[in-house]
């Protein structure tokens, strides 16, 4: 079983005297005892202790009831005095649950949708780029230089096309040609990996790795932190390597601004706060166990925002490694829509508390979630970093 490889981690967390219980965003909203991190780990410990395959399966069925009560945001890990990696424990358990066909129905629905349309939303793959405006499509079509690729991502393509439009505007201003994969871009696979659907995730990773290889990009710009982490951390873990340099859009835009290729001039006289997405923040730092560690990604988004004239950047209470989950990741939204909504309300309300008029995000899923729950939360505008920079050009 997958959890055999992480037995010690599971046991340690299961035996902990509940030290991260009140910090778990899911538990804070659900309040149920079975949603607390230690209980989820104890349920996996029980599976490990099963005497034979049939007993293990019986315990696994019980574990399946609780191990999806988690956004995998990693707040527990950031808070833990020993930095125990509970998200990895949950992902291991989910992989076993899926392999034994014991996962909640919604998980298999997401799998089927992805198999059919190459995206977890089940949107038509043929219409992946249909929401982009004509001008953006034309610019992308005319790109000749293939050194730089732009990875769009499912959430951005289907739900936040304005982020792509903003990025393309920035790159055009900087006279950088960017090419996309068009029909060859499939879901990065990380949302499926997280739900335990490792087989499908691996298929997607294989396809995407080959498609990117064919294009021979030197650099791939990725805006979605989930895709970014898939390429940087999870593809190698699954045995796939992307040879091009994978950079997050905020890093790339910062580079353009620092080298004078773009110059944000238009003043945006707003008080603004930045929300660190889990995947780009604590999951990309050594706080989380080394197996899936990349690099610090706290500063570049803030540095980009500070280059926009007029902006007053204020920090919220829950930022950087202690950032609060948006609750809008694939899986939580589908399995537990009410908790997803509840969790998502926290960041917009914190933003308003520090007097922010604009909430800047570096993740399309966060933007989608906050736009959904932020309604009625005062006059809070929600923009991606790329959109704000594009407005300032």
């Amino acid at each position: 079983m997958h959890i055999d490889d992480i037995q010690l981690e599971i046991e340690i967390c299961g035996f902990c005297p509940l030290m991260c219980k009140d910090m778990c965003c899911f538990h804070q909203h659900a309040k149920s005892e079975d949603s607390a991190p230690h209980m989820r780990n104890l349920s996996l410990w029980k599976v490990l202790e099963g005497k034979d395959p049939s007993e293990k399966k019986a315990f696994l069925k019980q574990a399946a009831e609780v191990i999806y009560l988690c956004t995998l945001c990693g707040q527990c890990t950031a808070w833990c005095g020993r930095s125990r990696d509970i998200p990895t424990n949950m992902m291991g358990g989910r992989a076993d649950v899926v392999e034994h066909e014991l996962a909640p129905d919604k998980v298999y629905e997401i799998d089927s949708k992805t198999e059919a349309e190459h995206n977890p939303y089940g949107e038509s793959h043929d219409k992946r780029l249909s929401k982009l405006d004509e001008s953006t499509k034309n610019i992308l079509k005319q790109a000749k230089d293939n050194r730089t690729g732009l990875w769009i991502g499912c959430t951005t393509a289907y739900h936040q096309p304005e982020i792509v439009q903003a990025m393309v505007k920035i790159f055009k201003t900087a006279a950088v040609d960017v090419q996309i994969l068009n029909d060859d871009e499939w879901c990065c696979g990380l949302p499926l990996y997280k739900l335990g659907l490792r087989k499908r995730a691996s298929e997607l990773a294989e396809h995407n790795t080959q498609a990117l290889e064919k294009k021979e990009f030197e650099t791939i710009i990725v805006d979605c932190p989930e895709c970014y982490r898939a390429f940087k951390d999870f593809y190698p873990a699954m045995g796939y390597t992307i040879r091009a340099n994978v950079v997050h859009s905020s890093e790339y835009i910062l580079d353009l601004a620092s080298n004078g290729k773009i110059e944000p001039k238009n003043k945006i006289a707003k008080t603004l706060t930045y929300h660190d997405p889990c995947e780009l923040a604590r999951h990309s730092t050594p706080i989380v166990r080394t197996e899936y560690t990349t690099s610090d990604m706290y500063e570049s988004p803030r540095e980009v925002l500070n280059k926009i004239p007029g902006i007053t950047l204020k920090e919220m209470r829950w930022t950087r490694d202690k950032t609060y989950c948006c609750g809008g990741g694939i899986g939580v939204r589908e399995l537990y829509p009410e908790f997803s909504l509840d969790i998502g309300k926290k960041v917009p309300s914190e933003a308003l508390k520090v007097g922010a008029e604009t909430l800047a995000v570096a993740c399309p899923a966060c933007k989608r979630q906050f736009s959904r729950v932020g309604e009625g939360e005062g006059n809070l505008e929600i923009y991606s970093i790329a959109e704000l920079v594009a407005q300032s050009l």
Binding site: E11, I12, F15, P17, L18, D22, E33, K46
Partner: protein, 504 residues
């Protein structure tokens, strides 16, 4: 399952009164009170509520034995809902177990007879902060960390910092008479409570007033604080708050032995210095602590003393305390080691490595037994009490098992102190009846506290672990507790069996 004669769980009921209401009707009634989303009989949540931090049910569960679980769990959001739940339960004679953060190890929140668990975590509002009078009102289910955090934001502190800081509720503290790390300065929870709102077993709501003191009859707050859900459910509380201190300072000391440390701290308290913390480790624990923390071998008794408040006052109190410590032979280890202790105050609770896991596995597998004894007594008794308990434990168990026992003294008063002793039995034979062994340990050491003018528990409550000893402590007072229970809860629905109450 719980009626095993070797169980350490006190069975208070000769015959649990049986309800004839069907679960279907009960759930339906509860849903109409609390709403669909706040009532569950989901198996995983029922098991999780029973397991929580209770060693007994965790062991049974690990051994694939059945554990007692509630029939249904409700999450009320208002006092009115709690009242209606109890009114229903009383009418239908259904057992009710109140539940807070689930951090207790005493088994007081096990739904021993099934019935309803009333989980108060959705009653988590900070209702009011009265800055002028230094008090705050909360719903009982508010988490300790969340409450302290809200107070800190506006420049105040509750002064309550227990080890269960991240997993406990104010209602739970009140139910069990909790103490935090800073109790020497800020008091235990019973010293912090100014007023309570309590839902009585028949559903009536009782309130006291948030006054600093009164002579209007007995103090009803103190009747319900520590009643562990046997007399009703604490639904709201008004607690003292304090301006966040200008200065907080810690100082580490090393005394030649435990006796010298005990004398030093007693004299500091007697001098009128307002210590916020005094923590004194015995020689055995000191040696381990030095080796683990600083990698050096030292003999003696390690202590941390702390002060907070106005900076000038802290300077004076620190100076006075140091003088007393030196007179008792204490070596000043400086502020740094004191600060390190405070900064790492939660650190040791995180299981660290494989060694810890092996320990827990051994505990669950029955090869290792371990527990705590935290008792308080007057100064003239405390040292001999600990010495005798230690000796009795080692004499009785060293031959057959690898026995270990050590303690720290961590909550100080002008008139006495307490010790928190940990005991371990390793290399337990496979066929050992573990529950009988646990009973044997408690029976060996707990009565020693009673014989030394002490009490059997200082700050964790009685639960089901120590119910049988409460009778020993003072037969006269136990009768009073029983009679109050009978008067308030004639149908014995409220947490029957907890603290050994409910046998009528």
């Amino acid at each position: 399952m719980l009626h095993d004669k070797y169980s350490f769980v006190y069975i208070g009921l000769k015959d649990a009164k049986m309800s004839i209401i069907s679960n279907e009707i009960l759930f339906s009634e509860l849903r109409s009170i609390c709403g669909e989303a706040n009532v569950t009989d989901h198996e995983s949540d029922k098991i999780a509520h029973s397991l929580n931090r209770n060693w007994y049910t965790r062991t049974l569960w690990a051994q694939n034995k059945s554990i007692p679980v509630a029939d249904v769990i409700v999450y009320p959001e208002t006092t009115q809902q709690v009242s209606e739940i109890l009114r229903l339960a009383n009418l239908e004679k259904v057992p009710v177990t109140p539940f807070g953060g689930g951090s207790s190890g005493m088994g007081g929140n096990i739904a021993e007879h099934g019935g309803i668990i009333v989980d108060l975590k959705k009653m988590n509002k900070l209702l009011n902060v009265n800055e002028h009078s230094l008090m705050a009102s909360v719903q009982a289910g508010i988490g300790c960390w969340g409450y302290e955090d809200e107070l800190n934001k506006i420049g105040y502190t509750s002064g309550h910092v227990p080890a269960s800081f991240f997993c406990s509720t104010i209602g739970g503290f009140l139910a069990l008479r909790s103490a935090g790390r800073l109790s020497t300065g800020y008091g235990k929870i019973e010293n912090m409570a100014l007023a309570l709102e309590v839902v009585l077993p028949n559903g009536e709501v009782m309130r006291t007033r948030p006054v600093p003191a009164h002579a209007a009859g007995p103090d009803l707050n103190q009747l319900f604080i520590g009643s562990e859900g046997a007399y009703g459910i604490i639904s709201e509380a008004t607690l003292k708050i304090h301006p966040y201190p200008e200065e907080r300072r810690f100082r580490a000391m090393l005394f030649p032995n435990l006796h010298a440390g005990l004398e030093a701290l007693r004299k500091i308290l007697r001098s009128g210095v307002h210590l916020i913390i005094g923590r004194l480790y015995d020689e055995r624990e000191t040696a381990t602590l030095f080796k683990r923390t600083w990698g050096v071998e030292r003999e003696g008794a390690y202590a941390v003393v702390g002060f907070d408040g106005n900076r000038d006052m802290v300077d004076v109190e620190e100076k006075m305390s140091l003088k007393v410590c030196r007179e008792e032979g204490g070596e000043d280890l400086g502020r740094e080691k004191g600060d390190q202790w405070w900064e790492n105050r939660f650190g040791d609770y995180y299981p660290a490595d494989k060694r810890d896991v092996e320990r827990y596995q051994a505990l669950l597998g029955g090869r290792h037994a371990g527990g705590t004894m935290d008792v308080s007594a007057p100064y003239n008794q405390i040292e001999s009490l600990y010495g005798e308990a230690r000796e009795a434990f080692l004499n009785r168990f060293s031959e057959k098992y690898t026995a270990d026992i050590y303690a720290h003294f961590s909550h100080w008063y002008k008139h006495g102190t307490m010790f928190y002793c940990r005991w371990h039995l390793r290399d337990i034979p496979e066929d050992e009846n573990l529950l009988a062994l646990y009973n044997d340990v408690w029976s060996t050491i707990i009565p020693i506290a009673v014989a030394h003018e002490g009490v059997i528990e200082h700050h964790h409550g009685i639960g089901r672990l120590l119910g049988r000893f409460l009778k020993l402590q003072d037969r006269g007072s136990f009768t009073v507790l029983k009679e109050i229970k009978k008067a308030l809860d004639p149908n014995n629905i409220m947490n029957p069996g907890v603290m050994g109450l409910g046998d009528y």
